[in-house]
Subunit: 174 residues, 3 copies
Amino acid sequence: MSGKLPAVTLVLGGARSGKSAFAERLVEAASPMRFYLATGQAWDEEMRARISTHQDRRGAGWETVEAPVELAEALADAARADRPVLVDCLTLWVTNLMLGEHDIDAAFERLAKTLPGLKGPVVFVSNEVGLGIVPDNAMARAFRDHAGRLHQTIAGLADEVHFVAAGLPLKMKG
Amino acid sequence: MSGKLPAVTLVLGGARSGKSAFAERLVEAASPMRFYLATGQAWDEEMRARISTHQDRRGAGWETVEAPVELAEALADAARADRPVLVDCLTLWVTNLMLGEHDIDAAFERLAKTLPGLKGPVVFVSNEVGLGIVPDNAMARAFRDHAGRLHQTIAGLADEVHFVAAGLPLKMKG
Amino acid sequence: MSGKLPAVTLVLGGARSGKSAFAERLVEAASPMRFYLATGQAWDEEMRARISTHQDRRGAGWETVEAPVELAEALADAARADRPVLVDCLTLWVTNLMLGEHDIDAAFERLAKTLPGLKGPVVFVSNEVGLGIVPDNAMARAFRDHAGRLHQTIAGLADEVHFVAAGLPLKMKG
């Protein structure tokens, strides 16, 4: 049913690069029924507007599950159903882990360990954030370090990795 | 006369990536006579120095037209002459639209509608700005959202898209 | 002995992109004995931790030389031994040149002139820093201008250029 998608795909891109839309098309082409694992939390008006824009674009056939922190667990649950899962996005998850003062390394390890046992394919979306000037504040530097390490881990486990800019995908692996 | 260039080309790159020089070489190879649509305004000394550096590098055969805001109109005018047009750059145009409090969506739509009717080829240069940490201030976040949306639109209409880093082009479309 | 490596290689990437590890693997595959030219200076605890992480990852067979400022001279010395040299990284060198108020253009020129005469192959690692929002402060803008110009120069002289994201290399030249 979802034979067109490999087990694990990572879609990396910048802000407003079209990475989410590209990832959604990948998952939609694979199956009429799919899970959307949303890591974003609507803590202010701007964030609510972004989430709403993304929801409007996605059509029918999506079941949304909020997974701001317990991502490995939500993923294991969702993938049990043999439907493709879209996780959007890893960088918001890292933000939530940091704000909630969770153990980042343990959370990354749990996620990595979950991947090989999943039944349905999973597509991760994430923001590449490490290509600008070194940020002034230590929190932002820690954030981009965490995000970078996570991207390396997921890319290492992924069958396909795409880098998206201006809506155009560039295949980096697979 | 300008047969080597497709109708619409987008050259994306970072700061000091060599994107303008690459775009200029594309246009220079296509025709001995060409238009340079400059969106930059010399509002301070640093900007004046940058504009002057770019002008010094461009040799003869360029007719410069300043188009800080009315880009669609200037482009339609320039392309009437059947000479290739270089637009440098879209991100400065977005900055000017924001600072002048223009209707951004309407301006983007006018530009997109102008493209199919142009007689001569056009090459757009723009800065990719979405690959760093989320900026602290809302204006900068709005700017990179606008720039990202515009890049997706122009890339969608373009025949060729190049991403330039360290002076080296990577073809993403075409 | 180091026949697998061309004379000059540039490895560009973002923060925590895996660029150093990729470059180390290139050099390690080329020779059992190699030089590590470290431009980083441990001026605070965070920097000490980063340097220590990098050192722990590198195994035996590396001779470390600190070259925070006199990079061209250190490179000429190291390459005399017919072993591959890893320079990590150019952006920290640019930072040191700026903080020490050295003549940047002269330093870049000395480095560029050193390259054609080297006996052993050299691999440069550097951070791409120009793909985020224009920084607020003039020092950071000058830094990314210098880094961008240096990348163009080294990429122009290099036989191979790789862009690394999420641990995955993308060959841009060679």
